[in-house]
């Protein structure tokens, strides 16, 4: 019997070994030998021969971001007084006084002028950099990619990974933390006329799509009209802002396109410097307007796909036919999709990737980012303030929150600084305007508003008094029937709600949390099926048309509180038409005061992303906008000996 058994056991072992062989039979599949392993080891601390002397060396600069060159954004948690707007930074079109009619000489930003007059190297040198050509950039993205059409989603992962293949009409300076300093892209120059209601874009000549077809103004018109008036079956999340900004698009000639707005519109030019609004090829998209771009990545961008993307790897190579012969600096980009933060951290530490992601490290907690940066002197941790808010909303249509006294009582009891101090998501305290941009409310004004006073004892006393007054008229509020809805699968949402829950106990308000899946939770915010809700909102522009238009205006895109304030709506329309920046800002501040004191939509804080990248990565500044054109990586370069070409 044992004799037979010997062969049977041997057969079993052989079967297992055969299975081993089968494992390999799966073939090479989608994942080839990692280029990352063959990438030369960057010399993080080596002094670059061509580096500008002003650049701090890695040794002298342990883990903090280098001092910003243009507009310094204070780190999160710092005092929230706004910086004085700096010359040149910010949205030109909103600040420049525009004559009532006639063609105005365009007030180009300093970065735009540098580019127009001296090319990309002039821009880099003005920012203390001497770019080198060459090298493969190892990047990582944190989300699975469902499809490739960025115009049909607000999914950040889709934007970031497809961005290198595209251009927009305009872009923002790769050195501007606010992503507001407009520079040319496909539009090399532009003229503003009709008091800011018309803009004519003069397009670059000799531009071709990655498939060789010529680019023209028809592509621009097609793109804008497709976003604005999407064909049946197409999802266009940004059609609202396009409809309110762009009235008509007219092709003047193959290299000139004219856009008109219904009256002065401060967003008419900046709209096209937002990364989302890349230009797509008409000849491909018109074949199947809804689906064609879902599965194809063909742009005019500085990089084109080297191979069809897989679920884990996107490889780009430099576009040899790129219309600006001086760009891009990199030869290749390789995007690995790594979803787990710990795996991201390991890849970053071992230079399998060079940053935690191009828009700021959405997947990293501040603690993880700091601990990773602390391990390697060449790693730089840059806390990036962003135009994304954590909000706490009270349903203004349902009692007791239909009474302003209850809302103000709740608002005054919530110490905003506690959210960043005790919750998992760092951020900057501010009101309805981004606290680090040109529209930020002055600190002394902010401190006079409900929920922002410096004396917490006085605020608590005020809250209790307001509640007592309400309850004396309407009877006691049964807080046992009121919950704070939060998203259990959003890492910071329910922990932040716990902080609010504890803060409210100081005014004897004891409410339970109601954790929900984010999709159900957001659905409740949209439909008004909630009393108190804690979640967040991502915005595209540091401009009141976007921030207030989304958050506070009646029927705005994120008008979750359902509180209509006619006075605010009126001021909103006024500021839209106001051409003088200072006057417009006065109106905006007035709006901010009204919205904050109305206390239905509370801004808990403005997020901080936690960007970590190697110090040899240059020309790639973390920005406040999560949709910065920096994701296109046109101006990114690596300060490495391997990337040693100083010209093409």
């Amino acid at each position: 019997m044992f004799g037979k058994l010997k062969y049977r056991i041997a057969f079993t072992v052989a079967t297992i070994l055969a299975l081993t062989a089968l494992a390999a039979c799966g073939g090479d599949s989608a994942t080839q030998a990692p280029a990352a392993t063959s990438a030369p080891a960057p010399q993080a601390t080596a002094a670059p021969a061509t580096a500008a002397p002003a650049q701090p060396t890695a040794a002298a600069q342990p883990t903090q971001a280098p001092a910003p060159r243009a507009t310094q954004a204070p780190a999160a948690g710092q005092p929230t007084s706004p910086p004085a707007p700096t010359a040149g930074a910010g949205i030109t079109a909103t600040r420049a006084p525009v004559p009532a009619s006639g063609v105005q000489e365009t007030d180009y930003t300093p970065a735009a002028r540098l580019l127009m007059e001296g090319g990309p190297k002039a821009l880099a040198e003005a920012n203390g950099e001497s770019p080198r050509y060459g090298g493969k950039f190892l990047a990582n993205n944190w989300e699975p990619i469902p499809f490739y059409d960025m115009h049909q989603t607000s999914f950040g992962g889709v934007y970031v990974i497809t961005a290198p293949a595209y251009n927009g009409l305009l872009a923002t300076s790769p050195y501007d933390e606010l992503a507001a300093e407009i520079i040319p892209d496909l539009a090399r120059t532009w003229d503003i006329s009709d008091g800011g209601a018309t803009v004519v874009f003069h397009l670059a000549e000799g531009v071709t799509w990655h498939d060789g077809a010529p680019f023209s103004a028809e592509d621009v018109k097609w793109t804008i009209e497709r976003i604005k008036n999407p064909p049946e079956g197409m999802v266009s999340p940004r059609q609202g802002v396009f409809r309110s900004t762009v009235e008509t698009v007219e092709v003047i000639d193959p290299n000139t396109v004219q856009l008109k707005s219904d009256g002065f519109s401060p967003l008419l030019v900046p709209l096209f410097s937002n990364g989302w609004n890349a230009i797509i090829p008409k000849h491909i998209s018109e074949v199947d307007p809804v689906n064609a771009m879902m599965t194809q990545v063909i742009g005019t961008g500085a990089f084109r796909l080297l191979e069809p993307p897989t679920t884990t790897l996107w490889q780009f190579e430099r576009n040899p036919d790129y219309f600006d012969e001086n760009l891009p600096y990199l030869d290749e980009i390789e995007y690995q999709i790594i979803q787990d933060p710990q795996a991201q951290a390991a890849a970053l530490l071992t230079q399998k990737v060079y940053f935690n992601d191009s828009i700021g490290g959405i997947n990293f907690s501040p603690e993880l980012a700091q601990s990773v940066a602390d391990r390697e002197p060449g790693l730089v941790f840059s806390p990036v303030p962003t135009i994304t808010v954590s909000h706490f909303v009270m349903n203004g249509t349902r009692p007791p929150f239909d009474d302003i006294r209850v809302r103000q009582a709740v608002s005054d009891a919530i110490r905003r600084e506690s959210i960043a101090e005790l919750g998992p998501q760092a951020g900057t305290v501010g009101t309805g305007n981004f606290p680090l941009g040109p529209w930020a409310l002055p600190k002394e004004v902010q401190e006079s508003l409900i929920g922002y006073g410096p004396d917490m004892d006085a605020r608590i006393a005020n809250s209790k008094s307001l509640l007592a007054e309400y309850e004396s008229e309407n009877g006691e509020i049964n807080w046992n029937n009121i919950t704070i809805q939060c998203s259990s699968n959003i890492t910071w949402a329910c922990p932040n709600a716990e902080v609010v829950q504890q803060l409210l106990k100081k005014i004897d308000v004891d409410v339970d949390l109601e954790p929900l899946d984010v999709t159900a939770h957001r659905g409740n915010e949209v439909s008004g099926d909630y009393l108190m809700s804690l979640l967040g909102a991502g915005l595209d522009f540091d401009d009141p048309i976007d921030t207030f238009g989304q958050l506070y205006i009646t029927d705005g895109g994120r008008w979750y509180q359902r509180r209509s304030i006619p006075e605010l709506d009126e001021l909103f329309q006024q500021q839209k038409a106001e051409r003088d920046f200072d006057k417009r800002r006065e109106l905006v501040w007035e709006m901010d005061k009204i919205a904050t004191n109305d206390a239905a939509y509370l801004v808990l804080h403005w997020w901080q992303f936690n960007r970590v990248q190697w110090d040899f990565v240059k020309g790639l500044t973390s920005t406040a906008s999560a949709r910065t054109t920096n994701a296109r990586m046109i101006y990114t370069w690596m300060d490495l000996p391997e990337a040693n070409r100083t010209s093409r």
Partner: protein
């Protein structure tokens, strides 16, 4: 035997139908939907509704179930992923399968190459310090969660050696050495539990056998202790180990999900987790159904192996 196999295969049909219904119900009652996952959190109600309509998510449940089953049966590509536009479920499963198989096989090799010898050593050195050490080693292996061990291994490598495995998986046929570098630690992570389990099984099974009458007879014949242990003891002891080991191979699927996630391996586990997060019903339902089918078929094969290895066992 043939009747037994036929009966088991017939029984598998209602089992798999039941499994498919359970998977479908779980995915259907799960809050959230793929429309939001595709559009991003800033999607507005109108666009959400449009995508839901396009994907048929507003249809009655029986229509959605019928459509999924029909796609699985009639379409060679198992239908289309509802999250990834224009990509078939079959192509996703095929793309990720080699990685999971690779990990599972390496893990089993680690488990058998280490588990059986360690269990044997523990049994023959019964109540010695070696036995105590190996018992602690086994208990730790059975107790430590796979995800924790994986994270600790990665952190240790990065902290002490400044090394981490390559991000992308490479087929062993393309580059065996690179493949080993990528898969060694995941296999160790996932295999530790299996090593511990098999060592424990081998030890207890061998201890039962070492004091049987026929073992005493073999010693009385003058055979060396090593010969007695290996040729007479281990051969008998290993039968339950192999059958249980085969079942463990099936159980590996659970650990594979966690290990792939921690080590960023693009296998079925990562695909499944990603599918659940993105509410990719078609993918998750099909993948879980395949897992269930593997378990059903694996159980049957194990039973057949058991009868084949031990002729005393006969199935009615």
């Amino acid at each position: 035997m043939k009747q037994y196999i036929a009966r088991r295969l017939l029984m598998a049909v209602p089992t798999l139908i039941g499994v498919s219904l359970i998977i479908f119900v779980i995915m259907a009652i799960m809050p959230g939907d793929v429309a939001l996952a595709r559009l991003g959190e800033a999607a507005n109600p109108e666009t959400l509704q449009m995508v839901r309509d396009q994907l048929g998510l507003n249809d009655p449940w029986y229509q959605r179930y019928g459509r999924w089953v029909k796609d699985m049966i009639t379409l060679g590509d198992l239908g289309e992923s509802v999250f990834r536009q224009g990509v078939s479920v079959a192509s996703l499963i095929e793309e990720h399968f080699p990685v999971t198989l690779n990990l599972a096989v390496y893990t089993m090799i680690v488990a058998i190459l280490l588990g059986v010898p360690l269990g044997t050593l523990s049994a023959v050195r019964h109540n010695s310090w070696i036995d105590y050490f190996l018992r602690v080693f086994s208990i730790v292996g059975l107790s430590v969660p796979v995800f924790w061990l994986g994270i600790m291994i990665i952190l240790a490598q990065v902290t002490w050696f400044g090394w981490a495995p390559a991000v992308q998986w490479v087929s062993p046929f393309d580059d065996f050495w690179d493949n080993m570098k990528r898969m060694f630690w995941p296999a160790i992570t996932l295999g530790y539990f299996q090593v511990a389990f098999i060592a424990r099984m081998t030890r207890s099974s061998l201890l039962d056998i070492l004091y049987e009458d026929y073992m005493r007879t073999a010693r009385a014949k003058g055979l060396r202790e090593r010969t007695v242990t290996i040729r007479h003891g281990l051969r008998n002891a290993v039968i339950p180990v192999i059958t249980v080991g085969a079942l463990q191979l099936i159980a590996l699927l659970g650990g594979v999900v966690v290990t792939e996630r921690v080590f960023n391996l693009p296998g079925w586990g990562t695909l499944l987790v990603s599918g659940v997060f993105n509410r990719d019903y078609a993918l998750v339902q099909t993948l879980v159904f395949i897992f269930a089918a593997v378990v059903v078929v694996g159980n049957l094969i194990t039973d057949m192996f058991y009868a084949w290895l031990d002729p005393r066992i006969r199935y009615q």
